[in-house]
Amino acid sequence: MKKLFAALWIAASAHVVAAPACSQFVPNAQFPVLANAKLAAKTRVLCYSDFAVLHSGVTHGPLWSAEHLTRAHLNDAKEQVRTNKFFEDPTLPPGEGATLADYKRSGFDRGHMSPAGDRWNDEAMAQSFTLANIVPQDRENNQHLWAHIESAVRKIAMRYGDAYVVTGPLFAGQTLRTIGPTRVFVPTQLFKVVYVPAANEAFAVVVDNVATNRYDVKTVHELETMSGIRFTGIPEALKEQRIGGLKGV
């Protein structure tokens, strides 16, 4: 009951306060901010045990999913062997969340934003299968390119001890595709923003949501412009940095 109350309170105050219960997953306890006000309709912050999501009742999925990767937790995550279950988030009002039926025969993978492979305990791993953390993702993309990107980001966190990561969909163009009776928006692209405090480094990667092996490295500023989301927890001084690429991708 206490948990439910907390979730409701967080939902009600998503635009008012910047620090609900799960602000430890974002740098300097600052959640990403929706600079494009059109994104803000029907959004609510959902706190899980080791990641946080801003869910949109318009796209019927996450706008961003934030996690704090640490070496110790990633070591635990590597050991995980368990059966998980995709599920419809019970904390969302009816009609806001995607349903299992939406994805069935949709031709798209149920693509994790905060990946299952980063979760360091049973509860967190089970929670990462909430459809609130999932977007319709091209199957090839999810299983190859995206998996390599996730793995490269894990290696960075392992090397430097920790990293803050935000993953989400981008919706570009006048018309968007949808799947299922709920009309879940299909992202045109996916992004990851990575901030590595120990390396004093921040960067973003963007990939088209199609079968591709290509990813684009962006500065955090460039991604902020593309996404309409500001990553306020990342130091401004790092937002113009451009890295060469990701190892092993």
Binding site: K104, G107, R119, Q143
Partner: protein
């Protein structure tokens, strides 16, 4: 692991070593995806056992079927829709 029942539903995913290897259940198809490095160690044994158990379960489920077609056809994809982008 014992809670993975081949072809029983479309929701279950067996994760081995995080998401290094995933066995995604389905009522018509099961998908095995990823790359698993099995070390000559206890962790490797744990992973190998999980994989074996899942594959054994898949084989048993298929063998239980009295009439298996040579190749089943995929269900036709569900139709997708379009929507005006409300964010531009």
């Amino acid at each position: 692991m014992s809670d993975f029942h081949a072809f029983a539903n479309d929701e279950d995913v067996l994760n081995i070593e995080g998401d290094a290897l995933t066995v995604s259940n389905g009522t018509t198809n099961i998908e095995v995806a990823g790359t698993l490095r099995i070390g000559k160690d206890k962790r490797g044994l744990k992973a190998a056992r999980a994989l074996k158990q899942a594959v054994d379960d898949i084989v048993a489920a298929l063998e239980r079927e009295k009439t298996l077609p040579d190749e089943s056809k995929d269900d036709p994809p569900a139709s997708t829709g379009n929507v005006q982008n409300p964010f531009v």
